[in-house]
């Protein structure tokens, strides 16, 4: 089982798995890093992105429309969530934030089950991206390779918005000293809403672009959420580059371990997290203060 071709295959597969984890985790970490809110509904929002895209795909037959619809639907959901519920929890203890977002996650999952049922739903990849590529040492689904590129572009876009634009600057300033930013005439809380929307959109986008890889079920976000936490902890809580690196590391751990002993693939993920917490408790890219 351990041959060079298999090792190389798993390495590439780890990259593909990791890229997606990186994107989902970045949404979680952006929201936490800027607003200080731990969004346990993130997995459910990832799932809703997939279903909203599925519904759009059913209606139009276009994958592109599905991607746009999935992302926008979850962005709108995120903004509504923030306006109606989350903003009341900014100043409340983390436990309260955890409970309210966890509860929302359950409501989202069951609402989707009510509408779509538990049977799995499939959003096919566009014809041009489906099929199999023969890389010589392995056959690999074309769409998974394309996915790596799509995720890379999305992560770059997120990075530019957060670190290279005026909005990103205001966001980061708002975290440091909301009162000061407010007194400069900038509505910090509106900015927070935008951040929540962006984080939510990242989840929704991940959900729909991942839909052709897995088949959608209401639970599709549940397992991902746990992995996302591992990624964020490995990478450093609140750190965008940390989420990206953490995602890639997690993907490689699952893939490479499976080659030696598949039963331990996910166990090793938690072992790696434990190791990081022991050696570098703040995570690989975690700063003592917020960025």
């Amino acid at each position: 089982m351990i041959s060079w071709s298999n090792f190389l295959s798993q390495l590439i597969n780890g990259l593909a798995l990791g890229a997606l984890l990186a994107l989902i985790s970045s949404g979680l970490t952006i929201i936490y890093g800027t607003l200080g809110v731990l969004n346990l509904a993130h997995g459910a929002m990832f799932m809703i992105g997939g279903y909203a895209g599925f519904a759009a795909y059913q209606a139009t037959g276009s994958f592109l429309v599905a991607v746009v619809a999935g992302s926008l639907a979850v962005m709108v959901l995120g903004i509504v969530m923030e306006r109606v519920i989350i903003r009341h929890f900014y100043s409340r203890p983390h436990e309260d934030q955890i409970l309210v977002t966890f509860g929302l996650g359950i409501v989202f999952v069951e609402a989707i089950r009510r509408i779509f049922g538990s049977e799995s739903r499939l959003v096919p990849a566009p014809a041009s991206m489906s099929g199999i590529v023969d890389l010589g040492f392995m056959m690999y689904p074309t769409y998974r390779l394309v996915l790596v590129g799509i995720v890379a572009v999305a992560l770059l876009a997120l990075y530019i918005v957060l670190y290279r634009t005026r909005l990103g600057m205001i966001v980061r300033a708002g975290i440091e000293d909301p009162v000061m930013v407010d007194s400069l005439g900038i509505n910090v809380y509106r900015v927070f809403m935008v951040v929540f929307g962006i984080g939510a959109m990242a989840a929704g986008f991940s959900g729909i672009i991942n839909a052709p890889v897995v088949s959608l079920t209401p639970e599709v976000g549940e397992a991902i959420l746990v992995q996302t936490f591992v990624v964020v902890v490995i990478g450093g809580v609140g750190s965008f580059p940390g989420a990206v690196l953490g995602g890639l590391i997690a993907g490689e751990i699952v893939s490479i371990t499976s080659m030696f002993n598949p039963g331990y693939a996910y166990v090793m993920l938690f072992a790696a997290m434990t190791l990081v917490l022991m050696i570098r408790p703040r995570g690989l890219f975690g700063a003592i203060g917020r960025e």
Partner: protein, 448 residues
Amino acid sequence: MEDRNKKVAGGRRDFIRAGLGLAGGIALPGLSSHAWAADQAPIGTWPAGVKGNSVFIGIAVPRTGTYAVQGEDELKGWQLAVEHLNSGHPLIKQISPKSKKGGVLGKEVKIGVADSAAKPNNAVQAEQGFITQNHAMLMTGSTSSAVAVALNKLAQREKVLYVTGISGSNDTTGKDCVRYGFRQCFYGQTAAAAIGPVIVKAYGKNKKAAYLTPDYTYGHTVTKSCQDYLATAGWTTVTNQVAPLGAPDYSSYLLNVANSGADVLINVNWGHDAVLSTQQAQRFGILDKMKLVIPYQIPFLAPEVGNNLTAGVYAATDFWWTLQDQYPLAKMFVQEFEKKFGYKPEWGANNAYMSFALWAEAVENAGTFYPPDVIKSFEAGRKIQSTVGEVYFRKEDHQLVRPVFIVQGKKQSEMKGKEDFWTVLETVPGLPLMQKPDAFGCNLGDYT
């Protein structure tokens, strides 16, 4: 500056704590299920559970999670059985000739339903509630053998009868068998012994097999039974990819399969895991190179993955609706089920219906709900008419002796209706497929 640092450091810890709590919460819900109630009844819930004019059955079935789709189908089978028991339906009377209108021994049958999410702790907690609050006289549930084994143990400890839902592990009526537990459906050993000759005939001797195995008692025992049988025809296992229940992605496992040089892929995964792993196997080009075999049929697999993936695939199963052409009771059951629920029942629904009907038959023959007498009635070895012909319980391990069916996936062009996914190829009599009663270490335990 210092203040802020402190706040953020605390925030990070909270975050990590929450993450770990979440992971733990998903993995191990309800650790507090050990608060057994002291029951005053002479044995289990008897006679408290039969004092009124109804008897209660506690159902713990997955309505969420990997096995949710199969769980809903099972639940419908139980619901139909209860309706038929209470109304004295002709189908119930065929299976249990002493049954009359008005329930079992004249007591109306009532049910309580809880979502187990296919997790043993959830199921045990729910059934514990049904026992203490509702004095349940019978428990059922499981679409996972991990749940079946846990409920077996609960049944024996609480002295409340348990009929399994879907449970494919050899352990359920093997090393984890109990006096208070009974299984209607087929299992790893009978599945492997039934499908083995068919695939050896179809694909030849001395082949290389790759397995996808879910990491719990069902997966381990079904894979082992298949390996043992196929070894007799010179087959070898080139890889066995063990994955956790509900794995979000199978790519890394499938790459190992793709690189293994196997001729046949034996997919033991079940529920949504089977759907996802089969779809992904196709996307990795594996199904173009290897033959797919399903040793333990997954209800709704064909409609979920599409029959282009199941066409030509061999599977062993407990029931398929076209058996109505062979068995008059199957015809009645399929008609009644479809009339009520609008689709053809899968094998989970048939298993559920039959398990209640067999319980009613045992109780009616015992003439009492007193559990030790009902158990002896089950163990009497009476030949009972069922939806798959004549069946009986083996008294040594409480396994129903019943046929196993080999089906093969139809191509789109062969389908005569939208639910006509499988052709029944063979009806394999049950007894020769079964191991010796003590081969898997079954020790039933006490009646009281």
